[in-house]
Structure formats: structure tokens, C-alpha cells
Symmetry: none
Subunit: 260 residues, 2 copies
């Protein structure tokens, strides 16, 4: 008798500021080939819909028709629990770097919704966008010649997703144990609320030495919070703490009652 494996939630593909409609279509085709159907577009350069996308999708119209558009990455990942930022070269950020295989294994071992972010054709994701991710996804490639384009990065990741599904079906018959579930971090919107509160209250107290250093300092704080993997409850607690600290001191350290 086989005990049923928990439902696995397919990752959402997020194309950030994609330039060519043709590449959006190719990404949709790559996705559907390997069973991924949910596509999000962040500020596509040439607007949306894009007439060049359909032909390049060669039949994966369903993915394009259901694509959702967002103004920025923060909005696009607001409801996601785990976000992966795809980069060609490692960035000097304190985030775990994983391969497609490792990312797929992690995605399959959580009940939360996961997103795979891919940057613009030329520049890739900027540091602000990468800072919103939990992990950095990098495809191991020939160091003497690394020339993966957008559609290729998408298809290799989607491919690994589908292979794991296929192996799962095989293992299910072999009754192989599934990896156990990890604890669920808060959705990104709750992290964003925490970041906004921190930035506002710190700025008004001169925490940021200069306007120029502010982005770097905020990025460091975001990474610090992100790595912690706080739950929704923990983020509520933290926000209560931060709020309290902005109040004027009014009682002695041994203070008791307070009627908030």
C-alpha cells in the first residue's frame, strides 16, 4: 500500500523587464514543454500583449493568454513564499546559491508557492531585484564559454522540474519516501511591509549616513531578514517591537502596565 505524497506546487516563472516578445514566447514554449503553466511578466519593455510572442510560443498560447503583468518585482512576488533569482555570474550577496536540481528539490519539499525570476536579456536582474529573492539560482556552465540566453535558462530549469515529476511517478510505484516538509516562511508582501517600516523609521532618525549609501544599507537589511526565514507570526512580533522602539521613552525600565 502506498501512502500518498503531499501535493507538489509547480513554480511560477517570472520574467523581469523582458525586452523581446519573441523571448517571452520562447519562454512560454519552454515552460509548457515541461509542465509549467503560470507566467508573470514584470514591466515588459514593449508592453503587453506583444505580437511577437505568439509565433515564438509555437502553440503554448495558453501560457501567454494567462500571463499576469506587474509593475515591479515586489508586486510580482508578493504572494510567494520562496523566490529564486537566476543569475549567470554569482553576485556578492549573502544568499545561498543553488543549481536547478537543488532548487527543484527545495521547491518540491515546501507547501509554499515558489517563483523563479529571470532578468532582462542583456543586463540580467539588478541587485535590488536579487535582494528580494531567498536564493540565487545558477546553471553550472562551461566557465570558458558561458552564453546561456533567456529561453535556455528557462528551459533548463523547467526541464529539471519535469524530470523530478517523472522520477516521482516512478518512485511512487517503488514506494520511495518523499523529503519531509520544511516550515513555511511568510509571504513576500509581509517581508515588504517590514522593510517599508524599517526604511521609514530609520530614515527619519538619520540611520542612513547618506542618500548614496541608503540602497546598500537597505539591501543588507533585507538580506539579513530574508535569510532568517521568519514566519508570519514572527514578522508580526518584529513589527510590534520596531513600532514600540519608535515611541518616546516614558517609564522607568521596570515599567509594568501599558494600555495599547
Amino acid at each position: 500500500m502506498i501512502d500518498h505524497a503531499p501535493i507538489v506546487i509547480a513554480p511560477i516563472v517570472i520574467l523581469v523587464r523582458p525586452q523581446l516578445g519573441e523571448n517571452i514566447g520562447k519562454a512560454a514554449r519552454a515552460m509548457l514543454n515541461f509542465g509549467l503553466t503560470e507566467l508573470r511578466l514584470v514591466a515588459p519593455r514593449d508592453g503587453w500583449p506583444n505580437p511577437a510572442a505568439g509565433p515564438a510560443a509555437s502553440g503554448a498560447d495558453q501560457v501567454l493568454d494567462e500571463a499576469r503583468i506587474y509593475d515591479d518585482v515586489a508586486q510580482a512576488v508578493a504572494d510567494l513564499h520562496h523566490v529564486y533569482a537566476t543569475t549567470v555570474r554569482p553576485r556578492d550577496m549573502l544568499k545561498p546559491v543553488v543549481t536547478p536540481v537543488e532548487a527543484v528539490a527545495a521547491i518540491r519539499s515546501t507547501q509554499g508557492k515558489s517563483g523563479l525570476m529571470f532578468g532582462p536579456e542583456r543586463s540580467g536582474l539588478d541587485n535590488e531585484e536579487v535582494a528580494l529573492a531567498d536564493r540565487i539560482l545558477t546553471v553550472p556552465v562551461n566557465p570558458q564559454f558561458s552564453s546561456l540566453n533567456l529561453a535556455q535558462a528557462v528551459i533548463l530549469t523547467a526541464y529539471e522540474w519535469y524530470q523530478a515529476q517523472v522520477n516521482d511517478a516512478v518512485n511512487a510505484q517503488a514506494d520511495v519516501a518523499r523529503p519531509e516538509m520544511e516550515r513555511l516562511p511568510a509571504p513576500k508582501a509581509e517581508y515588504q511591509g517590514l522593510y517599508d517600516q524599517l526604511e521609514r523609521d530609520l530614515a527619519s532618525r538619520g540611520f542612513f549616513r547618506s542618500a548614496g549609501r541608503k540602497p546598500t544599507q537597505m539591501r543588507a537589511l533585507k538580506t539579513l531578514m530574508q535569510n532568517a526565514g521568519f514566519s508570519s507570526q514572527e514578522i508580526q512580533t518584529l513589527r510590534g517591537v520596531l513600532k514600540t522602539l519608535t515611541w518616546p521613552e516614558r517609564d522607568g525600565p521596570e515599567s509594568g502596565e501599558d494600555d495599547r
Copy 2:
């Protein structure tokens, strides 16, 4: 002491009757991305060299320059020990059908030269050509939407080849740091300092509803911080943040300089 793995011979990619020079270039690019350099072309429709190939190779010229041309498959595979015929749909032939992973494992376990055959864009390999192969190579793909093009079939196979090489290197020296980042949590004394600062500054602002609830609330905060596994650097940053928040608000949110 590391025992040396036997020398592994990289497979040769054989494009049979390819139609578009652009696809030959894309295949070369896909190969070099994943460490494959030996390309053979069987009766390319538009002859060889093909001016459309170079631009599509985006730098993988070496692969194109060294490509060898053959009149038919029999000649192209004459010196090979193991030949794989890539097909989208399984043919009713009495040959073993393998996935890219299985093919790569087999190729890496033989001392003979192996070849990966890919057919023309539209029609694929004909049965005569498949008959010259030892095994049929099929990429597991969404049965509801299987639309892999030539370059995609090449890159997925080359990708599996390279991943196996990388894993080999990793296994060969298991103690070498993996991309996954190891985070050293701060010593307990630094956590204690953080807790003391929090307790003092929160108490003086009436965070603790009552003296009775204070221990419970502090325990919750400690657990929250502990689970995060902050580094020493992160704890320093956090303490700077908390300190700042206890200062009176004095500038507008967009404040700049501060000479702490």
C-alpha cells in the same frame, strides 16, 4: 587520497541533414556551453560552410570551424562505438529507449567513442538512420505539449553531460566548499547582548503589558532571534538598527547625513 576516475570521453554531436544554418549555429553554442566541442554534419541541406551559422553560434566558432562533413550517417558513425538516435516520439523498433541522464551515465561508463544523432528540424531521423544507432534517446516531455526544437534537444543533452562532469568533480573532492553558503551563527554572548538591549529599551517603552507576561514575551523574542541563526555581523547591524530606533525623530524621512 583521491582515487582518480577513469578518463571519460566526451560524446560527439551529429546533426543529420540539418536544414537551417541558424540551427547549426545554435547547436554549436549549446554544445560549447556545456563542454562539448566535436560536431559532425551529415549532408547539411544548404551546404557548408553556411553564413547563417556563425552569428547564431554567438562565439562558439571553434565548434563550427572544426565541424566535419559526411555524406551519410553510416560514414559519420563509422569510427564510433556507441550511437544514440534522438527521437521525439518512440519508434516501434527493438532498441532500448533511454533518457539524457541514462545516456550520459552510459557514455561515461565506456572507453569507446559515443555519438549523439539529431535529425532534421521537420522530419527527424528516418528509420534507416535510427537503425544504425544502438539506443534511442528521448527527452521526457509533457505529453500534452511536446515541442522541442533541434537546438533545445541538443542543449538538454549537453546540459546533462556537463552536470555529470561537475558532480564528478564535486564528489572527487567532497570537502571543497559547495556553492551553498555556510553561515556561522554568532556566539551566545552576542545574542545575550542583543536580548539585553531589546529588553531594556522595550521595557522603558511599555512593550511588556505586565510584569507577569514579560518573561513569556522575552522568551518568544529570544526564540525568534535564535531561530534566525544570525551571524556576528548581522547582530551588530541589528543592534545598530534598534539603537537608532530609540532616538527621537529629528529629520524628514528623506534625511541624509548623520555623523554618529
